[in-house]
């Protein structure tokens, strides 16, 4: 049993609160990603779970035990560090065997586990080498093998792919995901890379300034952000946000942005306010080349052909938006386009607080490809 529970965790460094009241439950066997920009507290939270930092408030539960006061070695965890922390004075074999030797396992068991972990990570022929003779990618595999060999209940990973170059990162991401899917362990994975988070996690906890701002599965977090921070942080390009207001005009409900206005379904009447933010993703905006009812006019500023799609930067009234169009459409800079902002794909936010307003009419993108440039 290895579910994890954080109860109101607080960790301060001097007067700075790195983790400021975090509650989180991770299910047994789940792959939970802690995602956020640098300094948001995700690594600190992970280290509190590992026992490498003492919490200043709150409790940590691993399985059914209160682990708050336990040292790392008693928590039955395994950890992969961002810098890999492969012991330079030991061969790869001894590195992987380290945890097992600390547990005083029998030699035969150790040998068996080391070799199978090495096989899983495709480093069987590196067992006799020292860390200085390995490349960064190889060292990373050693670190993962070392953690997996211990067969711990909980696997912690602190930005394991950050120090790899882009191509290697792509390969390892897929490999890691496949490896970890076959594992029973509960995994907590820290990253600042939202693509990693979306591709690997069962659930994502988006963190900012020491708190969890949204918790949900990748699709929820992508398509239903809890506030402007999440919308802007996740997705490439970030979500577009425009100042907007919704007014009732006779029986119709009209959305007004600086570049124009369009009609909303009648159910949106609850939204009538002046201080709104209209959030919409680049791929959720339809582009037409001729004017029509319900479309908003915009002028193309930049056209970036990205192969799988084209990315437009358009000026819509006072707002600058990013819009994705299919790869065979090339609206030229300085030309006009007309945008359809699909009401069901709009995410309304409170302008002052930046938090989401739920109307119940949101439709999650089921078919939209999350486009990564």
């Amino acid at each position: 049993m290895a579910e994890i529970r954080f109860e109101t965790i607080r960790k301060t460094f001097g007067s700075f609160a790195a983790v400021d009241g975090v509650d989180l439950e991770v299910k047994d066997g789940e792959f939970m990603v802690l995602l956020g920009p640098s300094g948001c507290g995700k690594t600190t939270l992970l280290r509190c779970l590992a026992g490498l930092e003492r919490v200043d408030g709150g409790r940590v539960f691993i399985g059914d035990r209160d682990a708050t006061d336990l040292p790392p070695r008693r928590r039955r965890i395994a950890m992969v560090f961002q810098s890999y922390a492969v012991f330079p004075h030991m061969k790869v074999y001894d590195n992987i065997a380290f945890g097992l030797r600390m547990q005083k396992e029998k030699k035969a068991v150790i040998d068996d586990r080391v070799r199978s972990a090495a096989e899983l990570l495709h480093i069987e022929d590196l067992l006799g080498r020292y860390s200085s003779q390995l490349s960064g990618g190889q060292r990373q595999r050693v670190a993962v093998a070392r953690a997996m060999a211990t067969k711990a209940d909980v696997l912690l990973m602190d930005e394991p792919l950050s120090n790899l170059d882009a191509l290697l990162r792509l390969e390892m991401r897929a490999e890691l995901k496949s490896l970890l899917q076959n594992l029973d362990a509960t995994t907590i994975y820290v990253t600042h890379d939202q693509i990693e988070a979306l591709s690997m996690g069962d659930r994502i906890a988006v963190m900012n300034k020491g708190r969890i701002v949204q918790l949900g599965n990748p699709l929820e977090v992508y398509d239903n952000p809890a506030d402007t921070f999440v919308g802007g942080f996740i997705g490439n390009p970030p979500m577009n946000f425009l100042d907007a207001e919704v007014v009732a005009n006779g029986g119709a409900v009209i959305a007004k942005v600086s570049g124009g206005s369009f009609e909303l379904p009648v159910e949106a009447a609850a939204l009538v306010r002046h201080d709104l933010l209209l959030g919409i993703r680049a791929e959720a905006i339809r582009v037409e080349t001729t004017s029509a009812e319900g479309l908003v006019r915009a002028k193309v500023i930049v056209l970036e052909p990205l192969g799988s799609h084209n990315l437009l930067t358009v000026q819509c009234g006072e707002d600058t938006l990013k819009v994705s169009v299919q790869p065979d459409l090339f609206p030229q800079p300085d030309s006009d386009v007309w945008l359809r902002l699909e009401p069901a794909r709009i995410r309304w936010m409170d302008r002052e607080r930046g938090t989401a307003i739920h109307t119940g009419a949101e439709e999650l993108a089921t078919e939209t490809a999350i486009v990564i440039s």
């Binding site: 109101t8 003492r54 006061d69």
Partner: protein, 297 residues
């Protein structure tokens, strides 16, 4: 929420934990307190007391009125004035040479570092074998025809000659010490600055003067500071080379302690050495200070 009981356990454990570094440094602090700080205070006490243990200026009086005091003081200063500038230039040159990555740099490195292992006594003995009338220098000079007969380098009546002899030995022995500090400083100068100056047409000596030296200032400060402090303690090399022909402050301290069995005057001399060291340190720190805005970081 953590209960009060839980909070207290956390705080108690943290306090015990935070005390660990203090326990680790305790032996060092205690040892240095007993064998460094306390003797130093005692030294002051000794210098300000007389044979019967009463507070008195007698030790200082005796020291100042001793003919040897003035001689020791002036010889020490003379040595410093001659040695330190020459050493500085030589050390800088050595550091630059090592930095230039010539072929065989590893061998040069080992050779340049050798003097660090050599005590001032050994240096004194080695150079006395060189300078002595029937010594190596005369052998070579007569051999190549510069001299017709042996020259007396270590003439006890000629202060100048003695200074030169001691200076040679000291420069030989302790230049490496300054070189190491300057070399470390050189490593810290980003290549870009020097290369940029090269691109803008600066020749070698211009580069050194306008780019390297200013950036090396902190290291120069440390190197000169430490060298001065050690220079005031100069001891065995003088005795080995000059016998009783010249004396320095440390040698006088030794003499009063061991030969004259007067620890008060000896302590007085050591206080003078300490005072001069600290004064020199203060002067260097002020004179070579880099104002905050102009620091690299």
């Amino acid at each position: 929420m953590t209960t009060i009981a839980q909070e207290t356990t956390l705080t108690r454990r943290r306090r015990r934990w935070e005390a660990l570094p203090y326990w680790l440094i305790l032996p060092t602090v205690v040892y240095l307190g007993l064998f460094f700080v306390w003797p130093m205070i005692q030294g002051f006490g000794l210098a300000l007391r007389d044979e019967d243990g009463n507070w008195s200026w007698s030790a200082i009086d005796t020291m100042v009125n001793d003919a040897a005091f003035g001689k020791a003081l002036s010889f020490t200063f003379l040595l410093i004035v001659v040695i330190v500038p020459i050493q500085f230039v030589l050390a800088l040159g050595m550091a630059l040479l090592l930095n230039a990555r010539l072929r065989g740099a590893g061998l040069f490195l080992y050779i340049f570092l050798l003097p660090l292992a050599i005590s001032d006594l050994a240096a004194g003995i080695a150079w006395s074998a060189i300078f002595t009338e029937r010594g190596y220098l005369n052998t070579i000079l007569e051999g190549v025809g510069v001299l017709q007969q042996p020259f007396i380098f270590l003439d006890p009546t000629s202060r100048t000659q003695l200074v030169i002899a001691v200076a040679a030995a000291e420069i030989w022995r302790s230049t490496t010490f300054m070189m190491v500090i300057l070399f470390a400083g050189l490593q810290g100068i980003p290549k870009d600055y020097v290369e940029a100056s090269e691109v803008f047409g600066a020749g070698f000596f211009q580069r050194v003067r306008h780019v390297i030296l200013p950036m090396l200032k902190p290291s120069i400060q440390v190197a000169i500071l430490l060298r001065l402090i050690f220079a005031f303690e100069v001891f065995a090399v003088v005795i080995a080379l000059t016998g009783s022909g010249a004396t320095v402050l440390a040698a006088e301290a030794y003499k009063w302690q061991v030969t004259n069995e007067n620890e008060h005057v000896a302590a007085a001399y050591s206080v003078v050495i300490l005072g001069l060291s600290l004064a020199a340190a203060a002067v260097v720190l002020v004179a070579l200070r880099t104002p905050r805005e102009r620091r690299l970081r």
